[in-house]
């Protein structure tokens, strides 16, 4: 009897493991956050080829911004409720907290505090960037723009 029960438990455990391999998730799992710091200038007309889509969207609202370049890119793995400060530009920082990992709707919830802006909270799909145009400018007068992405995504 004991042997049969143990065998059944092992069988169910194995089946669960096989089914969940790569497809099971937990909202408490770490989230990989990517922060891209973009500098936009009113001078010139050079747009980094990686920023064409970003530049097109931002220029709809800020047509005076002509040039776009990547200042830095950073990726961190954060557990829920783990607060982190990421370097932005010229000693400015971005505070960030993951509320929870991907939920049943495949959304990640996070709070961010861009420099010289209020804290804001949002839910985002995985793998895509949300641009945030800050009021901060560098010493050269370039506008600091943040683009934030969260990962990983669940399998569809």
């Amino acid at each position: 009897m004991l042997i049969r029960t143990t065998s059944l438990l092992l069988l169910f455990t194995s089946l669960a493991g096989a089914v969940c391999a790569g497809d099971c998730w937990d909202e408490k799992d770490p989230v990989k956050v990517t922060l891209v710091v973009i500098l936009a200038s009113e001078e010139g007309n050079h747009v980094d080829k990686r920023l064409k889509a970003v530049a097109t969207e931002i220029q709809k609202l800020h047509p005076h911004l002509k040039s776009f370049s990547i200042k830095s890119q950073e990726q961190r793995s954060l557990k829920p409720n783990e607060k982190v400060s990421l370097m932005c530009a010229e000693k400015r920082k971005v505070d960030m907290v993951i509320n929870h990992g991907a939920d049943k709707d495949n959304r990640v919830s996070l709070k961010i505090k861009p420099p010289q802006m209020s804290e804001l909270e949002y839910q985002s799909v995985c793998g895509k960037f949300l641009p945030i145009v800050t009021p901060c400018k560098t010493a050269k007068g370039e506008t600091i723009i943040l683009a934030i992405r969260v990962e990983p995504c669940r399998a569809p």
């Binding site: 890119q73 909270e121 949300l130």
Partner: protein, 202 residues
């Protein structure tokens, strides 16, 4: 140029005349003088021709090869045979073997590890074995994750995966839900537009 005319009292000596008639006279001047002398003394030429004929008729013929062999055989019969000395051959062989053994032992001792060098001769640097080298392992792109990178020149990093590897893909309409009602922040998240946040210009 005409050859000098011989004087009346000059005449070639018999060796000169013989060399001229045999065609062995090398001096041009002397040959011309003899030719001029023979013009005035044709009897001398005839006399020398007779002498040469006599010499030719009386000179014995070259011995044949058979005759030479017969002579050599006669010489060998009377020549004493060389003395056989077998001990000399054996001694030479033994000496050669001893020299070879000595050279081999010397070469072996000079190449033994830890052998004290009596002569200050620099040894050639031994070539390290292949297993003595430390093989440098090169990481692949998947082995290295770059967590932060400043600047645009990502091509400066040969190996590694960057946080951003291609064009930034923006979230579509409805894929971001911003829950901020901040007075100094504008939020665009209505249908048909990609979500965006920007600071309100004062």
């Amino acid at each position: 140029m005409n050859p000098p005319m011989p004087t009346n009292d000059w005449q070639p000596d018999p060796q000169q005349l013989s060399a001229y008639l045999d065609g062995e006279l090398s001096g041009v001047d002397l040959r011309a003088r003899i030719e001029a002398w023979l013009v005035t003394h044709p009897e001398a030429a005839e006399e020398w021709a007779d002498l040469k004929k006599l010499l030719r008729d009386t000179t014995p013929a070259e011995p044949s090869e058979a005759a030479w062999q017969q002579v050599r055989a006669g010489i060998d019969v009377h020549r004493p045979a060389p003395r056989r000395r077998p001990w000399l051959t054996a001694g030479l062989i033994a000496a050669s073997v001893l020299i070879l053994v000595g050279l081999s032992v010397g070469a072996w001792r000079s190449t033994r590890p830890g052998e004290q060098q009596l002569v200050n001769v620099p040894r050639p640097t031994p070539t390290p074995a292949l297993e003595d080298f430390e093989v440098m392992q090169v990481a692949s792109a998947e082995d290295v994750t770059i967590t932060r990178f400043e600047g645009e020149d990502t091509s400066a990093i040969v190996v590694g995966t960057f946080p951003v590897s291609g064009p930034l893909e923006l979230a579509d309409s409805g894929e971001v839900c911003i829950e901020c009602r901040c007075p100094r922040i504008n939020v665009r998240q209505y249908p048909g537009y990609r979500p965006m946040i920007w600071a309100r210009a004062d």
